[in-house]
């Protein structure tokens, strides 16, 4: 019984203190389309400032906004649309957001059908399974706007919670077509088809970055933010298919 | 075992379960009631389950009315539901979700005439709409019998059908069951632990001890010539193991019992009918060889008979009349002489 109590106490303290890495870590909330860039720059940051760990929380922008609203602690937030960042700014949760990158839509086709689908007409006239992001996410909002402009019916499309889920489904032939970001096309290793003539690249979103209002590591947060605008950051962004603002 | 008639049931059942081995030959004639008695763990229920096809035989064969249900050379045994053998369980085992009528109809091909006759014969016509939980133990038992007989089985197995009834209920139910069973003409094998049931109900009694048949005969045969200690105790007989020499049987404590047999040699079983034991206040004149000085341990009266338990050179029971007890003036603790004619001493070889 005593052993059980001791064990329980130890376990509780470990869980509550987050395994001891504690307050030294810099917590960064990142929209999932920025996954590779964020991972890359986090490593870069840790090389430059060896004393500080970067903890990435990667999710769809909508999920991140929700987490922030419910009181999640973060130092830096990078979202995939200005409107999502506006929600946080109106609540006074972030300080002066700044655009760090642009991304545009891309219509991609599964490896199996890459050869046989060449135009938006093919999409309209064939019975294809399409995947998009949920409407409430930045890439979903763009996708639905684009689809209505070209007369593409998304009623039977599956709505994934973030853009990486859409990409994965197309890569594995689980769906035929997906609407994702240009950056995803670049980062994918699968033999995807990319409908360059679809005109989706006219639809783009910008990525705002902000330091949170109640961050306890504002200095470090500023340092991390600065990474995105310096040479290393900019070359990383372009390498992964983002445009600079 | 019968000379002319084909028995309804003719079987040799060998079932091995770990260390326990059941090896039994049984035959049951048409319209015959055979009682199956024996101590706990003798294998009575195992035998019924094997005949029913619930337990596979290790060896042997089962013939029902000349049809092989299971046996050597048969590559498949007949399944329980195709055996035409009925079984009445100790607790009735009525289906709780069906009322009495639906229970009874469960196994019939809608032969309502038969069902109505059974309802009347077993005095359960008023109960048809009730559910098993609304019945008394005795009623449940009768419904269970009706349910089994309604299927017109060639053989009925009954496992302690009277076991859960009180004494008065037993006597009534015993008579009812006996009458109904005999009318159907089916053979019946009845497991019972009560010798009264066996003697009152059965045409023949089969004694099963430790997986083997130790005696199979009419109630009279069992009563007059019990073959084992257990049977002797069952019918109230005295029973001793002894060593025979010539006409004498010597008990392990050295007491000698004279018999009318001769040429005894080696271990034997001595059986003494308690009614053959005579009691005297004084040592009997002429001194029969078998007379022993004893003390009365207890006296039990059953109707007009007094069962006197004696402690002397060996323990002995004597059945005398109530009048004799009064005449002798004996009571618990009294000293008496018990005597026995040599011709009344039964001798059987000790079963290996």
């Amino acid at each position: 019984m005593r052993l059980l109590l001791v064990t329980a106490t130890v376990l509780t303290s470990v869980v509550l203190n987050g395994c001891g890495s504690g307050s030294h870590a810099l917590r960064v909330f990142v929209a999932s389309s920025l996954t590779e860039v964020a991972q890359h720059l986090a490593e870069e940051y840790e090389t430059r400032y060896p004393n500080t760990d970067v903890e990435l929380n990667i999710a769809g922008s909508g999920a991140l906004v929700m987490q922030m609203q419910e009181g999640a602690e973060a130092d830096v937030v990078i979202l995939a649309s200005n409107s999502h960042m506006d929600q946080l700014r109106e609540l006074g949760l972030v300080l002066g957001p700044k655009g760090i990158a642009q991304n545009s839509l891309a219509v991609i086709v599964s490896p199996q059908l890459a050869e046989s689908i060449n135009s938006v007409d093919d999409l309209r006239h064939r019975d294809l399974q399409i995947a998009v992001c949920v409407k409430s996410s930045p890439c979903g909002a763009l996708a639905f706007a684009y689809a209505s402009s070209v007369g593409l019916n998304l009623a039977s499309a599956t709505r994934e919670s973030n853009v990486k889920a859409v990409l994965a489904k197309v890569e594995r032939d689980e769906v035929d077509v997906g609407i994702v970001y240009m950056s995803d096309v670049r980062s994918s290793r699968a033999q995807l088809g990319h409908l360059e003539t679809a005109g989706a690249d006219q639809y783009s979103t910008s990525y705002p970055l902000a330091v949170t209002a109640d961050s306890k590591n504002k200095r470090k947060a500023q340092d991390f933010a600065a990474l995105f605008t310096d040479e290393v950051g900019q070359s990383t962004l372009t390498r992964f298919g983002f445009q600079l603002p | 075992m019968s000379d002319q008639l084909t028995p309804i049931l003719d079987c040799r059942v060998v079932v091995e379960r770990g260390a326990f081995k059941l090896d039994v030959e049984v035959s049951v004639e048409q319209a015959e009631i055979v009682a199956l008695v024996g101590p706990n763990g003798a294998g009575k229920t195992t035998l019924l389950e094997a005949i029913l096809g619930w337990l596979p035989l290790t060896e042997g064969e089962i013939l029902l009315d000349g049809r092989v249900l299971e046996g050597p050379g048969e590559n498949k045994s007949v399944q329980t539901h195709e055996r035409e053998i009925g079984m009445v369980f100790q607790d009735g085992l009525l289906f709780p979700h069906l009322n009495v009528m639906r229970n009874i109809e469960f196994g019939t091909g809608k032969s309502l005439e038969n069902v109505n006759r059974l309802l009347t014969a077993l005095e359960i016509s008023d109960l048809v709409d009730r559910y098993p939980k609304e019945l008394s133990t005795g009623q449940r038992q009768r419904v269970a019998l009706a349910r089994t007989l309604a299927t017109a089985p060639k053989l009925v197995l009954l496992d302690e059908p009277l076991g859960s009834l009180d004494v008065t209920g037993r006597a009534v139910a015993r008579k009812l069951i006996g009458n109904v069973l005999r009318k159907t003409g089916a053979g019946a094998l009845v497991v019972t632990h009560d010798p009264a049931d066996a003697f009152a109900l059965a045409d023949r009694i089969l004694v099963l001890e430790n997986g083997r048949v130790t005696q199979y005969g009419s109630p009279d045969q069992i009563r007059t010539r019990p073959a084992t200690k257990w049977v002797a105790e069952l019918v109230g007989w005295n029973f001793f193991e002894a060593n025979g020499t010539g006409s004498l049987a010597r008990l392990s404590n050295g007491t000698e019992i004279a018999t009318a047999h001769s040429g005894l040699d080696g271990p034997v079983v001595v059986t003494i009918n308690p009614t053959a034991v005579a009691l005297y206040r004084e040592q009997p004149a002429g001194s029969p060889r078998n007379s022993w000085h004893c003390r009365v341990e207890s006296i039990e009266f059953v109707a007009d008979v007094a069962r006197v338990s004696l402690v002397g050179p060996f323990d002995l029971s004597a059945d005398v009349t109530r009048a004799a007890v009064a005449e002798l003036g004996i009571d618990t603790g009294s000293a008496v002489w018990a005597s026995l004619k040599a011709t009344e001493v039964g001798i059987q070889p000790l079963d290996g």
Binding site: V134, E160, S161 | -
Partner: protein, 260 residues
């Protein structure tokens, strides 16, 4: 009558109940009660509710059809083979539903082991269809049927089957007329638990059947999407799920596992 529990244990129980009840209470506290009728009558919610009812009922039915034979088989086995089969049959209960969904994808997905054959042979495609939702729900719900019915069968005196056989009933007739009616309460409990589990299914559904409004977007999926878009709608739908689950559990009372 009943001996009193040690004070420490009673205190612990009180705390534990509070810990479990707190989130539920908080959920109720946040619900915009006056807005409820409007929130629950939007097309998305109505669609999801209808789809959820339809697919969860179908899934409970499928779970019964799959689970009953497994339970019967299990009730006749013992030792390692029984433990092994039981572990396999109840795995979906402890497996993360996402893993279950992924496994279903590999089996019945468009590129799956069986899915491709089904598509070619019968033109049957399960992912992104209500049928796919039913399959995903049934997959996670079946263990509840297996466990409740197996324990019901084990509690049943096998001599009832012998009694039926001795009355001339074939094994099939015995099963249908005696065994199934006698384990009725286990059947009901298994069906309701399976249904409740299917109604709340999320992970396997979204992984295997996707998230297509009106086709595969069940109530839990709609809650998930709405959490980021329309919080009040999400709360309203959550209330429906909590209410239905509570009703099922309370009405089952102690029929979780049949009486000893």
């Amino acid at each position: 009558m009943t001996p009193q529990l040690p004070r420490l244990l009673r205190l612990a129980a009180f705390v534990a109940v509070a810990v479990v009840a707190a989130p539920l209470f908080s959920l109720l506290w946040r619900i915009p009660w006056s807005e409820l009728p409007r929130l629950l009558s939007t097309e998305v919610v109505a669609d999801a509710l209808f789809l959820s009812l339809l697919t969860s009922l179908a899934a409970a039915l499928v779970a019964l059809l799959i689970g009953i034979p497994i339970a019967f088989q299990l009730s006749r086995m013992s030792g390692l083979p029984a433990s092994t089969l039981r572990a396999v049959a109840t795995l979906p209960m402890v497996l993360p539903p996402v893993v279950g969904g992924a496994a279903l994808l590999f089996a019945f997905g468009r590129k799956g082991l069986l899915g491709e054959t089904l598509d070619n042979a019968a033109g049957l495609v399960l992912p992104y269809t209500p049928a796919g939702v039913v399959i995903a729900n049934a997959f996670v719900a079946t263990p509840f049927v297996v466990l409740t019915i197996e324990s019901g069968l084990r509690a049943l005196d096998p001599r009832y089957e012998l009694a039926a056989a001795a009355l001339g009933a074939s094994p099939l007739r015995t099963t249908l007329r005696v065994v199934l009616p006698m384990i009725r309460s286990s059947l009901v409990a298994g069906a309701f638990l399976a249904w409740a589990r299917a109604l709340g299914e999320f992970g396997a559904t979204i992984t295997f059947a996707g998230n297509v409004p009106g086709r595969t977007q069940t109530l839990p999926l709609a809650v998930f999407v709405a959490m980021e878009a329309d919080r009040d709608a999400a709360l309203a739908m959550s209330l429906v799920l909590v209410f239905v689950s509570l009703v099922v559990l309370v009405s089952l009372r102690d029929k979780w596992w049949p009486a000893r």
